[in-house]
Symmetry: C2
Subunit: 235 residues, 2 copies
DNA sequence: CCTTGTGAAGATATTCACAGCA
DNA sequence: TGCTGTGAATATCTTCACAAGG
């Protein structure tokens, strides 16, 4: 799956320390499901219900949540509102994260228009591109700026998260430049392995890798006909 | 990380059996790097070189490759061409995978235009949408078809991989319908947990989850100033 | 009672370190 | 000699199963 750079054992000084990476990766899913429960005005959920909705088993969910603290009530379950707050806080979503998107092609446009982007904590500070044809056009309410303005944009909006949606060929150069301006978290959609100095966190989203993993399993299925129930599914 | 449904221990009859899931997830990266070496006409690579380019450590790379067989030469390294072939074969990329994309919004368009899509094994059989405004328009050389034609398209092109690029609200319905027509591998871009019967493999790509994981680490970094070298990076 | 929180067991994954072979 | 392939050691993650507690 994805790339992780920072070793994540910074051991925070306050309450919770050393939350496992695998747990971190699931918290956003729990959070989304919790919001769904909240919207239906459901006040409390059991680990069983939450787990089912999130597609994991309940022991795992309980252990995950136990890393944040003891926020449940035995015999009852978890208070939805309260847990939303605690998970949000743990993920750092109680603060605002200005994001800069580099690359205003099809993908950049899709990202800028993606609803879940603006919601809950993330805000597009700017969309940048190097193509003079594209610079100046309007995308999701943002005028596309020239990539030359990266330094000013990052400084002015205190951007710490950069999204790379450029072609593979320019991704490393864009990345270097983002890092040079002080961006320390990068989400990379270009199909290349980025080289970054230590202290910079890179995550990768790669369509073709996902497809290839699917192909592997599909092939496997068609080669050996799997016995009826030698399969497990995420509920 | 991502979701995996099939338990993947089908134990194939021929040479290789039981390749770990973590290894499978890295093979596409190795493959991409190998292609880059091949393009530069480099005939052989050591595990050290390959690992560096792929952003992993060399012991891991060697162990990964050892699951496919003994394709290296001690004292020399791996033959690039040969390894490309072996990895491709293992991933099932020596055959053609027709893919149907459901949802022709910004994201669907971006996916259809994504170059790496058409390359190496994957072929867009059709792009479907339910919006009469969109049906009939042209995307990346494909006329958008009505989602009502899903069954015919899947049958005619023997599609086994479906990509869901619809809004969250309709994703489950689209998924159910794909499954009903016989699609057993699904790549989901909608921010929902899909329910599928056993035997169907779902992978999820979720922008906002990746952002939230980045936010967690970014917050962590800003709260506790990490000692200079208590960090490890993917090269 | 019912459900959380968690030690302990088990399963996977990573890394080390070196034997074995070209 | 140099690099692969791999047992053994370690670290991480998942699952079980039950004590603790509202």
């Amino acid at each position: 799956m994805s790339r992780r750079a920072v070793s994540a054992n910074g051991r925070s000084g306050h309450g919770s320390q050393g939350i496992p990476e695998a747990t971190i990766a699931r918290l956003p899913v729990y959070l989304r499901v919790l919001y769904a429960f909240a919207e239906q005005d459901i006040p409390t959920v059991s680990s069983e219900e939450l787990a089912a909705a999130a597609g994991v088993n309940s022991a795992k969910l309980r252990k995950d949540l136990s890393h944040l603290g003891s926020y449940g009530t035995r015999g009852v379950g978890y208070d939805v509102e309260y847990l939303v707050y605690q998970v949000s806080r743990e993920l750092g979503l109680t603060q605002d994260w200005p994001v800069v998107i580099v690359g205003a092609g099809n993908l950049g446009r899709a990202l800028a228009n993606y609803g879940g982007f603006a919601s809950r904590g993330f805000r597009i500070a700017a969309v940048l591109d190097s193509d003079p044809e594209v610079v100046g056009t309007q995308i999701a309410g943002h005028g596309v700026l020239d990539v030359e303005q990266m330094e000013q944009v990052v400084a002015r909006h205190r951007v710490s998260i950069g999204v790379i949606a450029t072609p593979a060929g320019t991704a490393q150069a864009v990345c270097d430049r983002l890092v040079a301006t002080g961006v320390t978290s990068i989400l990379n959609f270009a199909p290349v392995v980025l080289n970054v100095p230590s202290g910079v966190d890179v995550r990768k989203v790669d369509l073709s890798i996902e497809l290839q993993i699917l192909a592997f399993h599909a092939q496997r299925r068609s080669v050996v006909r799997v016995p009826q129930d030698a399969q497990a599914v995420g509920r």
